[in-house]
Amino acid sequence: MSYLKRSPWVIHYDASSCNGCDIEVLACLTPVYDLERFGIINTGNPKHADIFLVTGSVNEQNKEVIQNIYNQMPEPKVVLALGICATSGGVFRECYNVSGGVDKIIPVDVYVPGCAVRPEAIIDGVIRGLKILEEKHKKFQAISGGKGELTIAQAGIQDAGDILELQKLAYQSEAELYNDFSLSPLTQTLEQLEDDFKNKFFLKSVMHDKIIGSVRAFMEGDTCHIGRLIVHPSYQNYGLGRKLMREIEAYFPQAGRFEVFTGHKSRRNIYFHQRLGYKIFKRERVSELRDRVFMEKFANKDRK
């Protein structure tokens, strides 16, 4: 049983526009509507929050703020776009400084239109958001607990098509980061990938008969080169990547050293590998836009 439904804590951010929806959100906390009846608290701290309420349209100045608040919230989390401005940009959508609705920046789960949005509608939206929160929690548990539904196994050449599709999806964020859509994972063809199966070892993670993650590796001398760790965007942040890395390292017990590389701007990737015990040892220029950062880990160190 989950207690997420019984105690949803919210954080509220007013992006821009007229503040009408902003005031209605606060009205929900007053004695008339009393959101705390449902255990809802306005925390004002993203790290304590489960539900992110955004009012107003997104403009150039607060894009990063919204992104930042979203990233700081622990999983599972839900985003509500309150009011027509947050939903689509509303009457401000054509302004030169307005990017549009909140879903331009972060994934939105519930849209609550209205100008200004009524407190009753906000409460209804939050209650709907709770159901989504519950579903996300189940997904989170299935992956982090690895209960039945998730399997990690060796992939064969028949999986090449699915893996290629996933690879192109998963590398979108990297391409946006460097503004370079000619990255090799994005331009790889099916033939090339099928070629890879001859000399590389592939792992896939499958959930409900669908491949949601993969990683590949090959030996060169004493070193095991691990590459192309990909996880479906809607299954990221559930610890799946870490599982795949551990699994593939275990498949190469003879390796004395593991090596990975990533782009210099991919801070999340670097941090992710550091958490797994990798250290940066080399940096190489690939193109005008991108440096490659090489990271290594010695096997004997963590075998205890």
């Binding site: 989950s2 207690y3 997420l4 019984r6 105690s7 906390l29 004695p31 009393d34 705390e36 009846r37 449902f38 255990g39 608290i41 306005n42 925390t43 004002g44 701290n45 790290k47 304590h48 489960d50 700081q72 622990p74 999983e75 599972p76 929690h137 989170f140 942040n237």
Partner: protein
């Protein structure tokens, strides 16, 4: 074996009672603001939910300090409720508080820094009267052992009304309530985000919450000591003290730290020290 049974009972019952009191507090607060308020069991739902959430950290070691905070609070309570030395209780309690402050500093964000600094200031404000109350209890009962203090022939309130008043004054600090909820707060004061607890989420926040329940029971136990001669009156009056804190919480705004520090030291000096002085001068 009896002592182990007592400790076990305390470890299990104290958080249950603390959580229920905290739920009652939220209900009473809501009624005072003419709201309906959450169910009484809400604090338990909150903690159970926090356990299910992802735990984000700035530094992994911050959770280590929180672990120590919880363990030391439980240890302090175990000493207290099995009737051990009150000085040891006070020092262990302070140490627990120090670990909490260290955790806040370890998380290294400006908000948790300010929260941790304010927590330290609060400790400076409330420690003198707590130590003075141990001294005063010794002067009356000639023992630092809580078991002796409890079984003293007359209620301590006859001798130490001033000390009790001083303790009541700093009570809001220990319960993290207005006007002294400087370091962190359950309410929507957001200028410090959440103060010392800003950087804690998931399981570690749940641990802070549970430690706070233990703390609350311990503080109420302290008040109980003053009426220990008749247990029923003791329980009722310490609950009344809790109600008083809630009432004050809903009546006053948060004060600046300067005022909090100065006023609690003044109260300690006038009522706490004054009480002891009178005891010293008056013949037995």
């Amino acid at each position: 074996m009896n002592i182990f049974l007592n400790i076990l009972l305390y470890v299990v019952l104290a958080p249950l009672a603390g959580g229920l009191l905290s739920g009652l507090d939220r209900k009473i607060t809501a009624r005072m603001q003419s709201r309906i308020g959450p169910p009484i069991l809400q604090p338990f739902f909150d903690v159970l939910k926090l356990i299910q959430k992802e735990s984000l950290v700035v530094r992994r070691s911050q959770n280590f300090y929180i672990g120590f905070f919880l363990i030391l609070v439980i240890f302090t309570g175990a000493l207290f409720f099995t009737g051990k030395d009150i000085l040891l209780v006070i020092f262990a309690f302070t140490l627990a508080g120090i670990f909490f402050v260290l955790a806040g500093f370890k998380a290294s964000s400006p908000y948790s820094f300010i929260g941790a600094q304010r927590e330290l200031l609060q400790m400076m404000a409330y420690e003198p009267i707590i130590i003075l109350s141990a001294v005063a209890m010794y002067m009356v009962t000639r023992s630092f052992y809580i078991s002796d203090i409890v079984s003293f022939s007359r209620p301590l309130i006859y001798y130490l009304p001033g000390v009790l008043f001083g303790l009541l004054y700093i009570l809001a600090m220990k319960f993290r309530k207005s006007p002294f909820d400087l370091s962190t707060s359950h309410h929507a004061h957001q200028e410090l985000v959440k103060g010392i607890t800003t950087e804690f989420s998931g399981r570690s926040l749940a641990m802070i919450e549970v430690a706070h329940w233990y703390e609350n029971m311990l503080v109420l136990g302290f008040i109980y000591l003053f009426f220990a001669r008749s247990p029923l009156a003791g329980v009722v009056l310490s609950l009344l003290a809790y109600f008083l804190v809630i009432l004050i919480d809903n009546t006053f705004a948060r004060v600046k730290w300067q005022l909090a520090l100065l006023s609690s030291w003044l109260m300690t000096l006038i009522f706490g020290f004054g009480n002891i002085l009178i005891l010293f001068i008056l013949p037995k």
